[in-house]
C-alpha cells in the first residue's frame, strides 16, 4: 500500500529545476546573478559577444572558427559536469537512470533559461547514426559578423563535447544552417567525425536537407 506521508518525506518532489523564475536569482545590491545553487552566473553583454568575434577575426583570421569551436568544447565539458551535478542533486537519482526524454527535456529547459535560445532535437536521422539539433533565436548567431558560412562555432563545440560525454563516444558537430544566413533556425549535425566530415565542405553550397541526404547516402 502506498503511504503518501512516506512518499513526501523520503524523496524530493521532482519539479522543473531549470524553471527561469526560480533558477535565476539576482542580488541588486551586490550586482550578482546566481543560480538556485548559489553558483555565479555570467551575463554576456552584446558588445562583448561582438568584440569576441571581431577580435578573434582580427587576430587569427580564418582560425577564428577553430578557436571558437575549441572554446566551445571546453565550455561544453564544464557545462556537462555542472548539468549532471545539478540534476543528480535535485532529482536524487543519477541522470544516467533518467529516461532519455526527461534528460533531454531538462537540457532544453536549461538551455532556454540561460538565454541561449530554444533547443530542439530531430531524431529522424538517428537510425542513420546522426543526431540533428536545432536552435532558434541564438544570441551567438544574432551578434556574429556577416560571414559567408554558418557562425555558431561556439555552440557546435559545446554540443560536440556535451554529447560526446553523454554517449561515451567521440562525436563531432557541424552547423549546416544558420540564422545569420537567413535560415529559420540553426541546425547542427552530430555524429562520428569520419561520417560527418563531408558536411564541412558542403555548408556553403548546399542547404541542410541536401547535406543530410548526402550524408545518409
Amino acid at each position: 500500500m502506498i503511504s503518501v506521508a512516506d512518499l513526501i518525506s523520503h524523496a524530493p518532489l521532482p519539479g522543473n529545476y531549470f524553471a527561469p523564475d526560480v533558477y535565476v536569482r539576482g542580488d541588486l545590491e551586490m550586482g550578482l546573478l546566481e543560480n538556485r545553487q548559489s553558483d555565479r552566473l555570467l551575463a554576456l553583454p552584446e558588445t562583448l559577444l561582438q568584440a569576441i568575434y571581431a577580435g578573434l577575426e582580427e587576430e587569427t583570421g580564418q582560425a577564428a572558427r577553430l578557436v571558437l569551436f575549441n572554446c566551445g568544447r571546453w565550455w561544453g565539458k564544464s557545462f556537462y559536469t555542472r548539468f549532471w551535478e545539478q540534476l543528480s542533486h535535485h532529482y536524487e537519482i543519477s541522470p544516467g537512470e533518467m529516461p532519455m526524454a526527461e534528460f533531454l527535456r531538462c537540457l532544453q529547459q536549461c538551455w532556454t533559461t540561460h538565454g541561449w535560445g530554444k533547443l530542439g532535437l530531430d531524431q529522424n536521422y538517428q537510425n542513420r547514426g546522426f543526431l540533428l539539433i536545432k536552435i532558434w533565436n541564438s544570441p551567438f548567431a544574432r551578434h556574429a559578423p556577416q560571414w559567408e558560412y554558418p557562425v555558431c562555432f561556439l555552440e557546435a563545440g559545446i554540443l560536440s563535447s556535451f554529447f560526446s560525454q553523454l554517449t561515451g563516444r567521440e562525436l563531432h558537430c557541424i552547423q549546416i544552417s544558420c540564422e545569420s544566413l537567413g535560415a529559420d533556425c540553426n541546425r547542427f549535425v552530430l555524429g562520428l567525425p569520419k561520417r560527418i566530415e563531408p558536411a564541412e565542405t558542403m555548408v556553403t553550397n548546399f542547404d541542410h536537407d541536401a547535406i543530410m541526404q548526402q550524408l545518409c547516402q
Binding site: M1, I2, S3, V4, A5, L7, I8, A11, L13, P14, G15, N16, A19, P20, D21, V22, P99, A101, E102, R105, Q109
Partner: protein, 162 residues
C-alpha cells in the same frame, strides 16, 4: 505578488487608480479571508487528502506499476501545492510556468496519462467533498489549468467536479 497588484504598484507614481481597478482590488482583498482558509485547509489536510486519493487510485488501477503510481502521486502533491499558492495570490503564473508545460510533457515521457487522469478525477472528487462550493470556486480555475482543461471546456464537460 499577483500581476494585477504588480501593475497597480508600478503605476503608483503616475496616476490614481480608476474606480474599476479599485473595485478589483477590494474584491481581491475581500476574498482573502476565504483564500487563506482554503489554503490552511489544503496545508493541514494535505496528507489525508492525498492518502484518500492514493487509496482510490491503487484500488482502481491495481495492474499499474507501483513506481509509476508513486511518481504520479508525488506530481499531484506538487500540483496541489502550486494551485494552493496560485489561489492564495490570485495568480496563475506559478501553475502555468512551473507546472503545466513541464508535467504535461513528463506525463507522456513516462506514459502516465491514464494514471494522471484518474488521479485528477479522484482529487477533484475529494476536494469537492472537503471544500464548500464557495471555496471550491476559488481553487477551481487553478485546478482546471493544471489539469489541462481550460475553464470553458471543463464547464461544458459537466460533471468534472461532481
Amino acid at each position: 505578488m499577483n500581476s494585477f497588484l504588480e501593475s497597480v504598484f508600478n503605476d503608483a507614481e503616475n496616476r490614481y487608480l480608476k474606480p474599476e481597478e479599485l473595485r478589483l482590488l477590494s474584491q481581491y482583498v475581500n476574498s482573502l479571508p476565504d483564500r487563506l482558509q482554503v489554503y490552511r485547509t489544503l496545508r493541514d489536510r494535505e496528507i489525508e487528502i492525498m492518502q484518500w486519493v492514493a487509496d482510490q487510485l491503487e484500488a482502481a488501477m491495481p495492474q499499474e506499476k507501483a513506481e509509476l503510481l508513486e511518481r504520479s502521486i508525488k506530481n499531484m502533491v506538487l500540483m496541489l501545492r502550486y494551485c494552493a499558492m496560485g489561489m492564495l495570490m490570485n495568480d496563475d503564473r506559478i501553475v502555468r510556468d512551473r507546472y503545466v508545460a513541464w508535467f504535461g510533457e513528463m506525463s507522456s515521457v513516462y506514459g502516465t496519462e491514464a494514471i494522471d487522469a484518474t488521479l485528477h478525477q479522484y482529487l477533484n472528487q475529494r476536494l469537492t467533498q472537503i471544500l464548500s462550493s464557495k471555496e471550491m470556486n476559488l481553487l477551481k480555475p487553478l485546478l482546471l489549468l493544471a489539469q489541462g482543461r481550460e475553464p470553458q471546456t471543463a464547464a461544458l464537460s459537466g460533471n468534472l467536479f461532481s
